[in-house]
């Protein structure tokens, strides 16, 4: 189960609207980076048959089955830190992560 905060959903919706196409957001992981796993966050133009689709606040979040175990239970949030703004993940599976949090390890 992946959830997305209302604020994040609003931003995703507006990005999609601005982009002019796309059905939702793909959230997943890839192996790479300094601590093993890295998040990926992409627009989705077409869903794959095996995708898990979670919908909250009107936004579809698609997750491929192989990624799900690493991120199940994550909440996506959109925050502003100083002048920077972007997406942030509250992932309960994380064991440790690199200093900047772009890559992580699970149990």
């Amino acid at each position: 189960m992946i959830t997305i905060t209302e604020k994040a959903a609003q931003h995703v919706a507006s990005f999609l609207a601005k982009r002019g196409r796309g059905i939702g957001l793909r959230f997943g992981v890839r192996t790479s980076g300094c601590s093993g796993m890295a998040y990926k966050l992409e627009f989705v133009d077409a869903a794959n048959p095996e995708d898990h689709i979670f919908e909250s606040h009107g936004v579809k979040v698609l997750v491929d089955p192989k990624s799900l175990p690493y991120i199940d239970g994550t909440e996506l949030d959109f925050t502003r830190e100083g002048l920077n703004e972007g997406f942030k993940f509250n992932n309960p599976n994380i064991k440790d992560q690199c200093g900047c949090g772009e890559s992580f390890n699970v149990l």
């Binding site: 931003h11 995703v12 990005f15 601005k18 982009r19 957001l25 793909r26 890839r30 790479s32 980076g33 300094c34 890295a38 998040y39 990926k40 966050l41 992409e42 627009f43 989705v44 133009d45 925050t79 830190e81 100083g82 002048l83 920077n84 703004e85 972007g86 997406f87 942030k88 993940f89 992560q97 690199c98 900047c100 949090g101 772009e102 890559s103």
Partner: protein
């Protein structure tokens, strides 16, 4: 933890490998920085939420005191050390700067570019601009949470090479990696997505705080070409403020104002102007330091009336730019509005009327250039979406080439080549034992050097002495993404090399480029004739030299009669050579060739005999 942005499908970057790129609008009055976030171009604001950075740098005894809004407040207090509109000085000498006598600065004439004496020492416009860029860079890095991979910086379309180079230098000084300099009108067109649109002609009307620029762009196959530019470097929103200011003084019948009252009134005038963009009438109430009280109302109609001549002053260069491009109003597919002053309804109306269509104005005219630059920067940094495989290209307006024997032009890079581009061609020596070669770099469409524009001249020395035509000299022309040309020549057997950096666009206006192009077309057949003649002359020269050398060496192989015949053929060729009858030259060459045919055969036999005599077959390697 790091904050993530959404990527295009399949385009997620590896961790720590985000390529942050920004677009910078380095303006005369204000500057901005923008980037692409989650697929969207956004202007980055400072910690107070302000997106504009006034292009003002204030120097104190210790160095830079402040940049931007704070520096702006120093302008009245310390005008000599507060540099505004530094863009006007970029790459300019004292004599190039208009109204220099009215400026409060202490100018110093220096080679290449003017310098400014400030309390912090002598500063070049490049250094001042770098201070503005440093602030924008710091803002971008704070906003993106990382180091910038590069920046696209916009410059006016009419900027010549010295001005472009100065802008690039300022960026380097600020520690920015310049991905490309982009023409401001092109950036505005990109922001409106016109580069994705069909081919067509677009006009970009840019009325800023203190300058007006009009550019006519042609889009074809994803490439923007600047057809013509025009404008008025001393016309902008400030002039509209001033008209309102004068009107208030007249209406309220004010006595001569103190300096601070004048500034207060000017501020009120600007506020009234901005208010009128969305309202029919602007109330202006001020209590002046002199105790006088101003209470007037300015209506939209009155505002239009008092600024009519200013609006008209923008339309004249606009029409001229169209004429220069050889276009009529009906051929313009779209009009892009740039600059805060284009918010004024009377401007929108006048431009709409002139072009007979609604101008594009749904993007913030103050930000549109920066937004377009950010889109381009994102693309150049390699963050491009897979389905948007367009790449914006600039083209070379005039062919680049070099001079060959006979004063002929050899084009190396043809015009309309997209940049960056590199081309190389091999040349050889004309005379026996020639050890040096002059490389004369020219620009233009004509066949004869005399009709082209000379860019540079340099010498390649150290060519090993060889027979004419045996040396191999590779000449490479390279034009980088900013239109800067470097030419190198290398002798391939010895490795000797010489090179030169050239500024092809220096001092050439778009008008002149257009003129040179047109001449190339109208003189095409005449040029072709002259080229053929020169080629025949060069070939004849070569033949005469070869004949003379042979006669000097082996005159003994000829009978008196044969020698006389060859001499008469040589004389005939020499006689027709100076004329312009190519056929006569060709015919005389043919006769001489025929006359020397037997002589050449005998020389050949003789040298073979010399090579073989007294040697065994086994010693001769074939």
């Amino acid at each position: 933890m790091a904050l993530l942005q959404i990527s295009e499908p399949g385009e997620s970057t590896a961790p720590h490998e985000h390529r942050f790129a920004v677009g910078i609008d380095l303006g005369t009055t204000n500057s901005l920085v923008a980037t692409v976030r989650s697929g969207m171009s956004v202007v980055l604001s400072d910690e107070l939420g302000r997106s504009l950075l006034p292009s003002v740098v204030c120097y104190g005894p210790q160095g830079v005191l402040s940049v931007g809004f704070e520096a702006q407040t120093h302008q009245a207090v310390d005008p000599k050390n507060t540099i505004v509109s530094v863009k006007r000085f970029m790459g300019r000498g004292v004599k190039d700067i208009a109204h220099i006598e009215t400026m409060p600065y202490d100018f110093i004439e220096a080679e290449g570019m003017v310098r400014l004496r400030t309390v912090a020492g002598v500063k070049s416009p490049v250094e001042v601009s770098a201070e503005i860029l440093k602030v924008l860079k710091a803002r971008a890095e704070a906003a993106l949470g990382g180091v910038l991979a590069g920046a696209v910086i916009t410059v006016p379309a009419y900027f010549d090479d010295a001005q472009r180079q100065a802008t690039k230098d300022a960026a380097l000084l600020a520690g920015l990696n310049v991905l490309r300099l982009l023409n401001e009108p092109t950036a505005a067109a990109i922001a409106y997505g016109l580069d994705n649109a069909a081919e067509g002609i677009y006009a970009v009307y840019d009325l800023g705080g203190g300058t007006f620029d009009i550019s006519i762009l042609k889009l074809s196959k994803g490439i923007f070409e600047v057809l013509s530019t025009g404008g008025d470097s001393a016309l902008g929103g400030d002039d509209f403020d001033h008209r309102v200011y004068c009107w208030i003084i007249e209406q309220a019948d004010l006595q001569p104002l103190s300096h601070s009252d004048a500034r207060l009134l000017l501020t009120r005038a600007r506020e009234a102007k901005e208010y009128l963009t969305y309202h029919g009438e602007a109330p202006i109430t001020v209590r002046l330091g002199s105790g006088e009280y101003v209470d007037v109302k300015l209506s939209t109609e009155k505002f239009s009336e008092i600024t009519r001549t200013l609006v008209q002053k923008t339309l004249t260069p606009t029409k001229k730019a169209l004429r220069d491009a050889g276009l009529s109003v009906a051929e313009v597919n779209g009009v892009v509005m740039v600059g805060g002053s284009t918010r004024m309804p009377q401007i929108q109306h006048a431009v709409g009327e002139l072009f007979n269509q609604e101008p594009l104005n749904n993007l913030d005219p103050d930000k549109v250039v920066a937004l377009g630059a950010a889109t381009q920067a994102n693309l150049l940094a390699g963050n491009r979406a897979s389905n948007e495989d367009w790449l914006l290209l600039d083209v070379i307006p005039l062919s680049l080439g070099l001079e060959t024997m006979g004063g002929l032009t050899e084009k190396i890079i043809p015009r309309n080549s997209t940049i960056p581009v590199a081309r190389a061609q091999e040349f050889t020596t004309f005379k026996d034992g020639q050890t040096a070669m002059v490389i004369h770099v020219v620009q233009g469409e004509r066949e004869l050097i005399a009709d082209c524009r000379s860019l540079a001249r340099f010498e390649l020395r150290g060519i090993p002495p060889m027979a004419a035509g045996a040396a191999r000299i590779r000449v490479s022309f390279q034009v980088d993404a900013d239109g800067l040309l470097s030419v190198s020549a290398r002798e391939l057997t010895s490795g000797h090399e010489a090179r030169v950096e050239v500024k092809p666009s220096y001092g050439l206006s778009d008008d002149e480029i257009a003129g040179m192009l047109k001449e190339g077309f109208t003189h095409a057949s005449e040029d072709a004739f002259r080229r053929a003649l020169r080629e025949a002359q060069v070939e004849a020269q070569r033949l005469l030299e070869a004949t003379q050398t042979a006669l000097a060496e082996d005159a003994g192989l000829l009978s008196m009669l044969e020698r006389a015949h060859i001499d008469s053929c040589v004389a005939r060729l020499q006689a027709v050579l100076v004329g312009d009858d190519r056929r006569a030259i060709d015919a005389a060459m043919a006769t001489l060739n025929q006359a020397t045919g037997e002589f050449a055969a005998r020389r050949m036999n003789q040298s073979v005999r010399r090579a073989l005599s007294g040697r065994k077959i086994s010693e001769i390697q074939i």
